[in-house]
């Protein structure tokens, strides 16, 4: 019951398909990436470095890291909790829970930002409360984190659930019968089995968190040096016709994307058996 092995193309149709794929991938996928890197360095290395060495650029990088450093661990803890209760127990409404879990994948990032304005904006549901107590959520760090958390919420859970479903509960039940307690079971049996999938999920989640644009753009308020993450910084500099500044910042994120792809590919090759089935290439 094996699939047909990949072979060198032989027929004319095969070569045509291969040629089409190479052209299409080059044109649609590769060209934009190359364009970013070439434009960023179009005036040499010095202007490139100078463009990144501004207080605003520093602040944007710092804020991006900060937001991700808060959002990703939150979603990791949530992902483990959700995967545990969904794959280890039977309960009513599980499929509804799964659908809600997937919702952030299917809503526009702009909506993922909008909802926080509707809740915590000046005219939002809780706006008056916040104003009275002088708490800033919108146009400040909390809303950036909330928007990022919403957008990236399913990433880690969605890696863990199919894997833990596959693995079943036998090992954990065995550990239980041998007298292990809850945390022992988790740290000694479950975690070693899911660690690579967890890392994979964290990787995808981090990449998305650092690059998120639409959602944070809505809640940020674009206060330079204060609430601009790196993607927002790109937008501002680009709109100000600071091409080198925009593309230099973009090149950092593009480099990050490449690193993500490399790590992701390594994980898929090296730990194929320990990732969810859909990830084993």
């Amino acid at each position: 019951m094996t699939a047909r092995a990949a072979k060198a193309p032989k027929t004319a149709a095969g070569f045509a398909l291969l040629a089409f794929t190479l052209l299409w991938m080059g044109f649609i996928i590769l060209l934009p990436l190359v364009n970013v890197l070439v434009t960023a360095f179009s005036q040499g290395i010095k202007p490139y470095l100078a463009a990144l060495d501004t207080p605003d650029a520093h602040a944007a990088i710092w804020l991006t890291l900060l937001v991700s450093a808060i959002a990703v661990p939150l979603n990791a803890v949530f992902g483990i909790c959700a995967a545990w209760c969904i794959t280890r127990f039977e309960f009513k409404g599980k499929s509804l829970l799964l659908s809600i879990l997937d919702l952030p994948f299917s809503i526009s990032p702009v909506i993922s930002g909008l909802v926080w304005i509707l809740l915590f904006g000046a005219q939002g549901w809780f706006g008056f409360l916040l104003r009275d107590h002088d708490i800033k959520i919108v146009f400040a760090l909390p809303s950036l984190v909330l928007a990022t958390v919403l957008v990236t919420l399913p990433f880690i859970a969605r890696e863990l659930i199919p894997l833990m479903e596959d693995q079943g509960t036998d090992e954990e039940v065995a550990a239980r019968t041998l007298g292990a307690r809850g945390w022992d079971i988790f740290f000694r049996v479950t975690l070693p089995n899911i660690k690579w999938a967890l890392l994979y999920g964290v990787l995808l989640c981090t990449a998305r968190a650092m690059g998120e644009f639409g959602a944070v753009s809505v809640v940020s308020g674009h206060i330079r040096g204060l609430t601009d993450t790196l993607p927002l910084y790109i937008e501002i500099t680009y709109n100000q016709y600071d091409t080198i500044g925009a593309f230099a910042a973009a090149s950092i994120l593009a480099g990050l994307a490449i690193v993500t792809l490399v790590l992701k590919t390594i994980l898929e090759w090296r730990f194929a058996g320990e990732l969810a089935a859909a990830r084993r290439h």
Binding site: F89, V110, I185
Partner: protein
């Protein structure tokens, strides 16, 4: 296998006293932590997803049905929604065809650089949308690498719906490829060989045997690309030009209405977009159920 009664006399009969082994999953509550993890999950989902979405759905009605109706009949809104949907649809269709070809080549053919190409498929997932946005915009602008070639030929791409379509094509490709690829990779060689021994040509095998088997995954990829395209913002906003009635997409209208402090208006557009995505996913679900009935389920 479905539980159809067996009519043939040659089949073994399961004795009455036979009991299927108890599935491990049924041993509910043997493991600890049900209440705490379920509680945390529900709390987190409520705080991050459910309550915010309720706030979204509840908002448009503050000026009554008429307020919502006003937004719904605003030609600028309608035009933006129409544009978002049509460009996303066109990109999803193109991606369904191109993505199928790419997935086919990546699984069937061995050539130098195959692994690299395979890894590159996920670039649109990994590359922040703003980066893709400025890159595409500068590529297709009149002084860009491609724009400077096409514009003298009379084809203006940047700041037109064609530019939006191209950006959504970039974003959507991995959805189709990654949906189709695993199914194609696991397609049993024996099934193809069976078709061959029965006299089918390569084309007949591809179109009558393999393609129907790929349909469920192809539809999934298409729908995901479409849903994503309808709501896409970052990669589109730079290349779109954002001219009302021409190249203004629906998500941008939300941003504009927020800047005007028209929360209800922004929420109205948001609700319509949310409904569109959910409708796409619903149709997908129904289609998949149809495919499952057709026996693609094992």
């Amino acid at each position: 296998m479905t539980g159809q009664p067996d009519t043939a006399a040659t089949e073994p009969v399961i004795p009455d006293h036979f009991q299927a082994p108890h599935p491990a999953k049924g041993t509910t509550r043997v493991l600890p932590g049900f209440k705490i993890t379920l509680g945390l999950t529900l709390f987190y989902l409520s705080a991050i997803v459910i309550i915010p979405l309720i706030a979204l759905v509840a908002r448009p009605w503050e000026h009554g049905w008429q307020g919502f109706q006003f937004v719904l009949t605003d030609t600028r809104v309608l035009h933006a929604l129409h544009l978002s949907f049509i460009t996303a649809l066109a990109a999803a269709v193109v991606n369904a065809v191109a993505g199928l070809a790419v997935a086919w080549v990546l699984t069937r053919y061995n050539f130098p650089g195959r692994k690299l190409l395979d890894a590159l498929i996920d670039l649109p997932f990994a590359l922040p949308t703003a980066v893709a946005g400025i890159a595409l915009s500068s590529l297709y602008a009149s002084n860009g690498w491609i724009g400077s070639i096409t514009e003298p030929l009379g084809l203006k791409i940047a700041y037109t719906p064609i530019g939006i379509f191209l950006a959504l094509t970039f974003i959507g490709l991995p959805f189709v490829v990654r949906s189709v690829q695993p199914v194609l990779a696991e397609f049993e060689a024996e099934v193809e060989e069976a078709a061959e021994t029965l006299g089918a040509t390569d084309f007949q095998t591809a179109f009558r045997v393999i393609l129907p088997a790929l349909m469920p995954s192809l539809v999934t990829g298409f729908s995901l690309a479409l849903a994503r395209g309808v709501g896409e913002y970052g990669s589109v906003i730079f290349i779109a030009g954002n001219m009302p009635y021409v190249s203004e997409i629906a998500p941008l209208l939300i941003v504009i209405k927020l800047q005007e402090f028209d929360y209800a208006g922004a929420a109205s557009v948001g609700v319509i977009m949310l409904a569109m995505s959910l409708a796409i996913l619903l149709v997908l679900n129904i289609t998949q159920r149809f495919f499952a009935n057709v026996g693609s389920a094992k």
